[in-house]
Amino acid sequence: SDETARYALLLGDDCLILAQRLGHWISRAPELEEDIALGNIALDLLGHARFFLTYAGSAWGKTEDDLAYFRSEEEFRSCRLVEQENGDFGRTIARQLLFSFYTHELYQRLVRSADTTLAAIADKALKEVDYHQDHAAQWLLRLGGGTDESKRRMQEGLESVWPYLEELFADVEPTPTLAEQEVAVLPSSLRDAVLTRLSSIIEESGLEVPASKGAFGADRSGRFSENRGFILAEMQVLARQHPGATW
């Protein structure tokens, strides 16, 4: 249905934008192993995005590329968390931590969706998100327990992305309707579990759970962010210079 497609789009946009952000790390990571690890995660996320966008597009006769390259800033539904700049490695890890803990919880429930395609995508993604979670958590522990410098930077990373955590739990349309039909997972229903698990790992790392209650404007509209336009300008530039071309 159109609503299911809009839901898939929302899920896909998150993965696509985060893959786009992470891809920048390849050749710039602190260690060769991390070029590979971050590249792997970016690839996984891009894979999830492609499943979701392809599924969304099937309702509208559009391809994944139509949706990725020819929608405007206003039409994307990505959350602000994934749109945040990479910053230093600590901030990137903080962003990964929040997003992977959230998607892990989400996909764990989405595998029981009444929509079998969404369930299948979630099932496939879940195995990979397992690794993403672990990667972020291990780095959180290392940086939180490493040097004074790493502790400071990791804490600052958490502070910078934490305001955008709440948006992940906002029950924006069409999710509530679809949740009633047991197609979607109601975002607000994930909140307690995700926050509990995040708090626990952050405390284990010796860092502090940020106090921020969430930045105003948690509606995935992009109206309250300055990042999306820059991301799309770069991502879409070539495709838009050659409309209709095959690559």
Binding site: L16, Q20, G23, H24, I26, S27, R28, A29, P30, E31, L32, E33, E34, D35, I36, G39, N40, A42, L43, L46, G47, A49, R50, L53, E64, D65, A68, Y69, D88, F89, G90, L141, R142, L143, G145, G146, T147, E149, S150, R153, E204, E234, M235, V237, L238, A239, H242, G244, A245, T246, W247
Partner: protein, 315 residues
């Protein structure tokens, strides 16, 4: 004396030399230089294509490109590991690259300016690399040969992907076709130069061949590459920018024109389009990551000296 004879015998019988075997200092030095140079080339080689990850024109291409650049990091890892078996640490090799003391393949001082360049790098640069590397799978030093087996498998995959990008472009719109032709025009000469200077100006090759590291001379490999790409270019419908290129019935090979060796040596000496940028990019990544590496080391040290209790917690 005994070591030398054993080594000599291994070489004569074309068998593998392993890290624990005795080997001449120069053999070791030559290998460390060659393997680390190759590793560095993979690392720096991530940059030209990497600069297109964010702008790849379809999600499928973006995915393939990301995987490819990531493979290059993987190749770097294998190769550094192979070199480490010769007693040089990865950090030492990093340091040589960082300070500009070590070389890497000069081709990566050229830019990947358009999307078609990503295709040309795959087809021509990876193609030349494979031509070079397939014989290296039989290199006398075991870890190197085995690393090359893994590398070659993936490289031939990359070459095919590059060719496909160009094929799609050359069968696309006029603008795409032009983009493909321009890329081939730019990369043809530098790709042929990847095999190194002509044989009569390549003094070290003899010793490498005697040691069964190198199996064929620069010019032989270059000819093999030219013979391979000419029909591939025809299949692409693109022109190789060499008016002297034509089939020589007598030799059973394609003749090709003189290459611009002044340009080549100038790029090697540091005057390529992007020498400084490539090294600065690498250095910035190392510098920006220093605090992370320090933190990881400090954390590991704390874990190691901590009580069994915290070892349990982190398990």
């Amino acid at each position: 004396r005994v070591g030398w004879e054993q080594f000599q015998q291994l070489i004569e019988e074309d068998q593998r030399v392993e890290p624990r075997d005795w080997m001449p200092q120069n053999y070791r030095k030559t290998l460390v230089r060659q393997i680390s140079q190759h590793a560095h080339s993979e690392i720096i080689g991530m940059q030209p294509e990497g600069n297109w990850i964010s702008r790849a024109p379809s999600l499928k291409r973006k995915s393939v490109l990301m995987a490819k650049v990531q493979d290059e990091a993987g190749h770097g890892l294998y190769l550094y590991s192979a070199a480490e078996t010769l007693g040089t640490s990865r950090d030492e090799m990093y340091q040589q690259l960082y300070t500009g003391k070590a070389k890497y393949s000069s081709i990566f001082n050229y830019p990947a300016r358009t999307w078609a360049d990503v295709g040309a790098v795959g087809w021509l640069v990876d193609g030349a690399a494979i031509t070079n590397q397939v014989p290296l799978c039989r290199a006398s030093f075991g870890p190197y040969g085995r690393a090359m087996v893994r590398v070659c498998k993936e490289e031939s995959f990359h070459q095919r992907q590059g060719w496909e990008i160009l094929y799609t472009l050359s069968h696309g719109t006029e603008a795409q076709k032009q983009m493909a032709q321009d890329a081939v025009d730019r990369f043809y000469g530098p790709a042929l130069q990847m095999f190194g200077p002509p044989d009569d100006e390549s003094p070290n090759s003899q010793q490498s061949m005697a040691w069964n590291i190198k199996r064929f001379s620069n010019d032989v490999l270059r000819q093999r590459f030219v013979d391979m790409i000419v029909p591939q270019a025809e299949a692409l419908g693109l022109t190789l920018p060499d008016p002297d290129l034509k089939w020589n019935e007598e030799r059973g090979h394609y003749d090709y024109g003189d290459l611009d060796w002044d340009e080549f040596f100038s790029v090697v000496k540091g005057n390529g389009p992007l020498n400084h940028q490539r090294l600065a990019h690498y250095r910035a990544a190392r510098d920006d990551g220093a605090w992370v590496r320090e933190a990881a080391a400090a954390y590991a040290a704390k874990q190691a000296e901590a009580s069994p209790r915290s070892a349990l917690l982190s398990a």
